[in-house]
């Protein structure tokens, strides 16, 4: 079993590293990327959107024993005639925050469909507490948006997904400016992520804070 190779001989109790938890039996889940393992990069290089002066792509995918991180890049053509301008009202070209009423109807969101599990949604994970083991996609760093005054209309962000997918396809869907339907979707074979997760090196045990 791939997970068993990366998280060898897990203890009979749950370990906790901040919000990171690794369950006994090799099934791993964490709410943030672990600080006790080295990721292994695989090339995503998926184009989700390339039209209307908008480019959205998934680049590097970094696999861990308990999930994976992916890099999401946005580019907006700065040309005045670019089609995206008509569909992006308000003071931001792109934003993932959904706090104010205006943000809630204009926020971008990314959804990840894990093979064999329910899809995870960035906005859903932002607005409520997640429960242990449920599929999540959470912001892990980088640019959370692009203001309209930015000199270059480009952003790169990192997103954390846990648990690892089952074999099959991992589907990325992007919803821009509060869209109900995805503006673009692309898929990646989970096998590459699982193989990389199996090569992820556990550096040291997660700090143990006692049984939950």
């Amino acid at each position: 079993m791939r997970l068993a190779a990366a998280v060898s001989d897990p203890p009979s109790v749950l370990w906790e590293d901040g919000a990171v938890k690794v369950a006994a039996g090799g099934e791993g889940w964490a709410s943030t990327p672990p600080a006790w393992a080295l990721p292994v990069t695989v090339a995503g290089d998926l184009v989700l959107v390339r039209q209307g002066g908008v480019l959205v792509s998934v680049g590097a995918v970094c696999a861990y024993p308990v999930g994976f991180e992916f890099y999401l890049t946005f580019g907006f053509n700065p040309a005045p005639a670019a089609e995206w301008r008509a569909r992006a009202p308000g003071g931001r070209v792109l934003g993932f925050h959904a706090r104010t009423p205006h943000e809630q109807v204009t926020a971008a969101r990314i959804a990840v469909g894990l093979a064999g599990r329910a899809a995870a949604d960035s906005v859903a994970c932002m607005n409520r507490e997640v429960t242990w083991g449920e599929p999540i996609v959470t912001f892990a760093g980088g640019d959370a948006g692009i203001p309209s005054y930015a000199p270059v209309l480009r952003a790169e962000s990192r997103w954390w997904v846990s648990p690892l997918p089952s074999p099959g396809l991992v589907e990325f869907s992007i919803f821009l400016h509060g869209a109900d339907e995805p503006n673009g979707t692309a898929s990646l074979d989970a096998e590459g992520i699982l193989e990389a997760a199996g090569r992820s090196q556990v550096l040291w045990p997660a700090p143990e804070t006692g049984p939950l």
Binding site: P39, G44, G59, A60, G141, G142, W204
Partner: protein
């Protein structure tokens, strides 16, 4: 285009520095550094990144070395030598830290000639590198050949950089 060759820059008891998520564009490449430390190891955790040259005596900083001999040192806000028209220029794109993990993303331009691209990290102001990792410069060039320019972007050279790297 992503180049999957991750490198372990530092690997010692309770301490590791990883470089990866290398992404290549026609004019340069980005990479991520993860500085990981075990809270149970003896001694203080690695110092945060230096904000400027003066802080490099006690904080963490980086050097990028090209196979043709060009070397550039970088912290979060400065490159040295200050003027080096042929680069490489090294720019922090993003940096954040939490318990036991410091994550930073760096942009390097222009691309290197073929050969190893060295990433040397100086933790806690050490004069000699704490560790060196080597990226495959030829792999970066091959990836750059496959990258596509979709539309031209304005140059990002703002006032902060106007005095640097001019011939």
């Amino acid at each position: 285009m992503v180049v999957p060759g991750d490198v372990l820059v530092v690997n010692s008891a309770g301490l590791a520095v990883w470089a990866g998520a290398v992404t290549v564009y026609p004019e340069g490449f980005a990479f991520t550094l993860r500085v990981l430390s075990d809270s149970r190891r003896a001694g203080p955790p690695p110092a945060p990144w230096a904000l400027d040259v003066a802080e490099r005596v006690r904080m963490t900083w980086l050097e990028v070395c090209y196979p043709d001999g060009r070397v550039r040192a970088a912290d979060l806000n400065a490159n040295t030598p200050r003027r080096q028209p042929r680069g490489p220029r090294v720019q922090a794109m993003d940096a954040s830290a939490s318990d036991g993990c410091d994550i930073s993303r760096w942009w390097v331009t222009p691309l290197s000639p073929p050969g190893p691209v060295e990433l040397a990290i100086h933790l806690n102001g050490q004069k000699t590198p704490t560790g060196v990792g080597r990226l495959d410069g030829a792999a970066l060039l091959r990836a750059a050949d496959r990258a596509q320019i979709i539309w031209p972007e304005p140059r990002e050279d703002g006032p902060d950089h106007a005095h640097e790297d001019q011939a």
